[in-house]
Amino acid sequence: MKVIEAKGFGIENLAMVERPEPKPGPREVLVRIRACSLNYRELLILRGHYNPKQRFPLVPLSDGAGEVAEVGDGVTRVKRGDRVAAIFMQRWISGAVTEEAARSTLGGDIDGVAAEYVVLHEDGLVHVPAHLSFEEAATLPCAAVTAWNALLESGRTQFGDTVLVMGSGGVSLFALQFAKLAGARVIATSSSDAKLERLKQLGASEGINYRSVPEWGERVAGRVDHVVEVGGAGTLAQSLRAVRRGGRVSLIGVLTGYGETNPVLILMKSISVQGIYVGSRAMFETMNHAVAANQLRPIVDRVFPLEQMREALQYMESGAHFGKIVIRV
């Protein structure tokens, strides 16, 4: 079978190799992966920003969907032919995150899903909504669960709230879709007027170009209940201005990098800043229920074949995408 292997840091160290098809042991499941999706995390891992002591070779990617090809002894949660996706942290089932769960991330702590076949523990899988293609279902495990956790588990976005989302990456688009689903109003920021237009078509009621309005936090000051912060140090100061007193900032990404932030506004405005690192299987399942009940469709930007993994990652690095970048396996 075909597998993508990272032999060391750097996109240039990715290669497609042949490996024998794995066999599922007791309570394990062999999944024929049909599609994977990319997250910015992939670039951070390959640059050594996630874990400088990353072990290699590594099979990259956390997000994959496919069908159950074979089940090992004692498997009860899935059966052959089921359409499934892998959960991001293989050992975060429900409740609060634990040390053990945080060390079970696919494509980081353990081998990921950029392969034709993977073997996973049955507890590390969820069924995917029936109306989604494998390409669409593969977008869910990291970005969608992160947005769901931020808005509807750790934060309780409800009808009438205002949510601010940044840009047009995977988490931000899911956040927009979930916020709208819950009956909230959405303000979106982007550096591109064309992308702002598309964000409005998806339901954002207000768009702000952060290039022409660098002080966008002032523009919306006090009107935002919840900011889904994907920028990190470069945008947090504006997010803290934007959010209302007693509001919430979900810190889920560091696209603009690391650095210093003045924390005074956090206390003066009684802001809850919550770190969100994806979510549990229980959150994934609750989210899938909402996605299915509302026939919600993820936004897929572009689909690459497995052999173009490097091109796909470079495309993500360029920032030209609107929605998820998918790898067909």
Binding site: Q158, D161, H289, V291, A292
Partner: protein, 304 residues
Amino acid sequence: MKAIRVHQFGGPEVLRLEDVPEPKAGPGQVLVRVRAIGVNPVETYVRSGGYALKPALPYTPGTDAAGIVEATGERVYTHGTISGAYAELALCDEKQVHPLPPQVSFAQGSALGIPYATAFRALFQKARVIPGETVLVHGASGGVGIAAVQLARAAGLTVIGTAGTELGRKLVVEQGAHRVLDHRAPNYLDGVSVDVIIEMLANANLAKDLTVLAPRGRVVVIGSRGPVEINPRDAMGRDAAILGMVLFNATGPELAEAHAAIVAGLQSGVVRPVVREELPLAEAPRAHQMVMEPGAYGKIVLVP
């Protein structure tokens, strides 16, 4: 000015149209020229004298009006008044009035105060619904029911409504319900499983409600006309919760949150009150009879 006055508790006939002095707005208050008054079941309970809340006699009933602020000309709706809503002028605390967008009629505006705030509080502050859950709205063709269907649908829920008439069921579907049931039919809840129930007539339905809840389900009791026997094991086995509420218990911040959301819903078009009939203020006794009759079909409104 003309106003309805109640000098003694009793039947609808105690609602009398009289001339009373015009109220004057003090600091922090606004005087609203009333164009429409929403009639709610609770006003009939208060009028009869058999309710926990007993105003000092004589009094002018009502909390929900829509009209124009005398001082500024602003279109507003109210969720409460100081002087009573069944009148040509209503004196309000400034926190009791909210902006009414131009596309919403005064009659619709008078249907917001109690029905929409009750539905909002039940769904979001009590049941704490999340998208993807299923909600059953009993009596979905009445004022609170219509509000609950519209808000639940806009919050990503799967919505099942009940109504006792064909016309009512058609209305419930038009408001966005995925499914509608006839609560006059025998065994109409067979095969139903829901996460949340908005219960307007707990004395009739609560025992059965507990048997159609999914695990971790919630029943929000917002209306009851008598006692009821339930089997607590139906709740235990499901980790279910029975949540009672009356809107009167909502705190200031809870009400402010509800009305901020309702105003946002008016602007986005999600909140669309349905008016069944507009009657002259003098016909308040008839309005009180109609609001308690079965077969609800939208809001009954009085026009001064």
